[in-house]
C-alpha cells in the first residue's frame, strides 16, 4: 500500500501487507540446512546463495569449500549452510579468504558479500585481493541498497534511485556516481575472470550459475575470479514485491550491465 509522505508516494512499511507471505513449496536445496529463510519475500539473495552452493556441489568442491561471509541480510545463511563457513567482519571477507587460501592452498574459497559490504566498507580489500591474483572467488550480491538497515544508499545505488537517505533519488551532485565494481576489477591484471549477472528471471538464474561455475573453475586453476550478482530487494527499493524483477532490469541492470566482463583464459 502506498502512502504519501513529504509529498512523495512511499510504501507503507508500518502495517502488514494486504496479502501475507505464504510458503509456495516445501523444498530444501542441497547443502542448505533449512527449507525456509528469514529474509523478506521477493528477496534475490536466497536464489543467489542457492545457485552458489549448487555450483559448488556440481563441481565436486563440497569437501574442499570454505565460504567466507560478510555482513548483510545474506549473513542469515552463514550458520545454516552445509559447507564450512568462516564469518568475517563487514567488508573484510577478502583478507580472511586470502589467509585461508594461503594457509591451505588445496581448499576452495569463496567470499559472499553485499554491495554495502564489498563496495562501501571494504572496497580496498577486494581490489587488492584481485590485484594480487589470489586464487579465491569473490561474489558480490548487489541490490544497490543497504538492505539490512532498511534501504539506504550504497556505492552502487544508481542515479535516480530512492533510498531512505536519498528520498528524492540519488543525484550525482550531492551523492556522486555509482561504482561499477565488476568493470573496475576487470581492469586489474590479477583478475582472471569477471562477470556480472542477475537472478530476476529463470534465464538469468541459469546464467548466474554458469558464471559461478566458470569462476570456480578459474579459481581451482589458480586464478582470481569475481562474480557480481544483481539481486532483488523490494523492501529496500520501497516497491511491490512482484514489481522487483522488472525494477531490477529497468534500473540496476541498466547501469550495472550483465555479461562476462573479462575471461583472461578465453580472451
Amino acid at each position: 500500500m502506498m502512502i504519501e509522505r513529504e509529498g512523495l508516494q512511499v510504501i507503507d512499511t508500518a502495517t502488514p501487507p494486504d496479502v501475507p507471505a505464504r510458503l509456495v513449496d516445501d523444498f530444501t536445496p542441497e547443502l542448505i540446512d533449512v527449507g525456509t529463510h528469514g529474509l523478506c519475500p521477493g528477496c534475490g539473495e536466497p536464489i543467489a546463495v542457492r545457485a552458489l552452493v549448487e555450483a559448488i556441489a556440481e563441481l565436486g568442491l563440497t569437501q574442499k569449500a570454505i565460504a567466507v561471509f560478510g555482513i548483510g541480510c545474506y549473513t542469515a545463511f552463514s550458520n545454516n549452510l552445509d559447507v564450512e563457513v568462516l564469518q568475517a567482519l563487514h567488508g573484510r571477507a577478502p583478507s580472511l579468504a586470502t589467509g585461508v587460501k594461503r594457509a591451505r592452498p588445496g581448499t576452495f574459497v569463496v567470499t559472499v558479500q553485499g554491495d554495502g559490504d564489498m563496495v562501501n566498507e571494504g572496497l580496498q580489500e577486494v581490489l587488492h585481493t584481485a590485484a594480487r591474483g589470489e586464487a579465491v572467488t569473490c561474489v558480490m550480491l548487489n541490490n544497490g541498497v543497504f538492505g539490512e538497515t532498511g534501504g539506504h544508499l550504497t556505492a552502487t545505488t544508481v542515479l535516480g534511485q530512492r533510498t531512505k537517505n536519498t528520498l528524492e533519488g540519488r543525484n550525482a551532485h550531492d551523492h556522486g556516481y555509482p561504482i561499477l565494481l565488476a568493470d573496475v576489477i576487470a581492469t586489474l591484471e590479477g583478475a582472471s575472470f569477471v562477470a556480472r549477472c542477475a537472478v530476476n528471471d529463470a534465464g538469468n538464474v541459469a546464467r548466474t550459475k554458469r558464471h559461478l561455475t566458470r569462476a570456480f573453475e578459474v579459481q581451482m586453476a589458480g586464478g582470481f575470479s569475481f562474480v557480481e550478482i544483481l539481486t532483488m530487494c523490494p523492501t529496500g527499493w520501497f516497491i511491490d514485491t512482484l514489481d522487483a524483477p522488472d525494477y531490477l532490469s529497468g534500473n540496476l541492470a541498466a547501469v550495472h550491465a550483465p555479461g562476462v566482463v573479462k575471461d583472461a583464459a578465453r580472451g
Binding site: A97, T98, V100, R102
Partner: protein, 356 residues
C-alpha cells in the same frame, strides 16, 4: 638452542618461527617494520607464508583467515596500527580464534589500548609485556600456547627499545607447528550434515531455525573470558619487596631501569622494593597485594600519564596509597630513547617519595 647476538626484531621473528608460527601478515610502521622484514625472509624457509598487507585492517584479516585453518599465525604493528585492528581483535575473541599479535609500541601510551581492549564489546585478551628481547623470546612459545589453550588472541607488547636494540638471546630450536584443533576449518566437513562454522556470532549451525542465537553465544563468550582470566597464572618479577617501605612498580622496558635504581637504593640501605608485572592481563593482583603488605606507599613509574597506575590502585583496593612518579619522557621523534630512563634520574624520582 643457540645463543645469538640479535636485534630485538630479528630475535622476535626467530622466536615466532621457532615456536611454530607459519603465517604472518603485516604493514610497515616504525618501530615494528623490521619484524615484518625478518618474517618475510624467514617464513618461506620453513614452508610458511608472509604477506605484505595493504593495511593493518587486511593484515589482521589475513592472519584471522590463516588462524581459522589451525595454522599458527601472527600479525602486529605499532600502537596506531593496532588501533586499526581493534575491531577484529574484539571479534576474534568472540570467534574463539587463537592469534599472536605484536605491538612494537612507541613509548608507553598504549597500556589502556592493550589491557582494556581498545575495541568494542565486553572482551579481554591476555597481554604479555617483556622487558627486553631475551624475555620476549622466552615468552613466545608460552604466548602461542596461551592463544591455543584459550582460543584467543594474545598480545605481545614490546616497544622501540625491544625492537631496535641488540642483545644476546637464546633462540630455541624450531619446533613443528602443532596439528590444527578439531575446530579448525579445512573444508572437509562440507556435505556431512555438520559442516563447521567459525563465527564471532556463534559456532552452532542451526537446523531448526534461521539466524544466530546471540544471547546464548555472548553468554558463552563471557564465561570463556572469565574462565581464561581465572585460569591464567599471572607472571611478574620482584626484588626486595619483603622489607619494603616503598614498592616501586614499572612495566616493560622502564622496568629494567627502575629495577637498577631500586637496587642502588637498597645498596644504600633504603627499604625499597620493586615489582614488574609481566602479564598486564591478567594483572598480578595478589602479588601486588603481597608485595605492598607492609609498605607505606606504592610508587608507579611509567613513560605516560599514568595508566598501569589505575590497575595498581584496583589491585590494592585502597589499602596502600599509590603515587604516580612517571610521566612523558620522549625524544624529538616521540618514541625513541627516553631521557628519563637513566638510573640517576630514576633514583632521584624514587627518593622524592621515600620517607625522610
Amino acid at each position: 638452542m643457540t645463543r645469538r647476538l640479535l636485534e630485538g626484531s630479528e630475535a622476535v621473528a626467530e622466536a615466532m618461527v621457532a615456536a611454530g608460527c607459519r603465517f604472518f601478515a603485516g604493514y610497515p610502521m616504525t618501530p615494528f617494520t623490521e619484524v615484518l622484514e625478518h618474517m618475510a625472509r624467514l617464513l618461506p624457509e620453513y614452508g610458511g607464508t608472509c604477506i605484505n598487507a595493504e593495511s593493518e585492517l587486511e593484515a589482521v584479516g589475513m592472519a584471522w583467515g590463516a588462524a581459522a585453518t589451525g595454522t599458527r599465525s601472527a600479525t602486529g604493528s605499532t600502537g596506531q596500527g593496532l588501533s586499526l585492528m581493534q575491531e577484529s581483535l574484539s571479534e576474534l575473541v568472540s570467534a574463539h580464534v587463537p592469534l599472536l599479535v605484536l605491538n612494537m609500541a612507541r613509548a608507553q601510551g598504549d597500556y589502556f589500548q592493550a589491557t582494556r581492549g581498545g575495541g568494542h564489546g565486553d572482551y579481554r585478551m591476555p597481554v604479555l609485556a617483556p622487558k627486553d628481547a631475551a624475555e620476549a623470546v622466552d615468552l613466545m612459545r608460552p604466548a602461542f600456547e596461551l592463544a591455543d589453550r584459550w582460543r584467543t588472541p594474545v598480545l605481545m607488547f614490546g616497544d622501540y627499545y625491544l625492537a631496535h636494540t641488540a642483545q644476546s638471546v637464546d633462540v630455541p630450536d624450531v619446533v613443528d607447528p602443532p596439528p590444527p584443533g578439531d575446530w579448525a576449518l579445512d573444508g572437509s566437513t562440507g556435505g556431512s550434515g555438520h559442516a563447521k562454522l567459525l563465527s564471532p556470532l556463534g559456532d552452532h549451525k542451526r537446523r531448526d531455525d534461521v539466524g544466530y542465537d546471540l544471547q546464548e553465544h555472548y553468554r558463552r563468550v563471557a564465561r570463556g573470558v572469565q574462565e581464561m582470566t581465572e585460569g591464567i597464572e599471572p607472571m611478574w618479577e620482584e626484588l626486595g619487596t619483603e622489607d619494603a617501605e616503598v614498592v616501586v612498580m614499572a612495566w616493560g622496558t622502564p622496568g629494567r631501569y627502575v629495577r637498577a635504581a631500586v637496587r642502588e637504593l637498597r645498596e644504600r640501605g633504603r627499604k625499597v622494593g620493586f615489582l614488574r608485572p609481566v602479564t598486564l592481563y591478567p594483572f598480578p593482583d595478589a602479588a601486588v597485594q603481597q608485595a605492598a603488605k607492609n609498605a607505606r606507599l606504592v610508587a608507579v613509574y611509567e613513560n605516560n600519564q599514568g595508566q598501569m597506575t589505575d590497575d595498581v590502585r584496583l589491585a590494592l583496593e585502597g589499602r596502600v596509597p599509590v603515587r604516580f612518579i612517571g610521566g612523558l619522557s620522549l625524544d624529538h621523534s616521540g618514541f625513541g630513547i627516553a631521557p628519563d630512563l637513566e638510573v640517576a634520574t630514576l633514583v632521584q624520582r624514587i627518593e622524592e617519595v621515600l620517607p625522610a
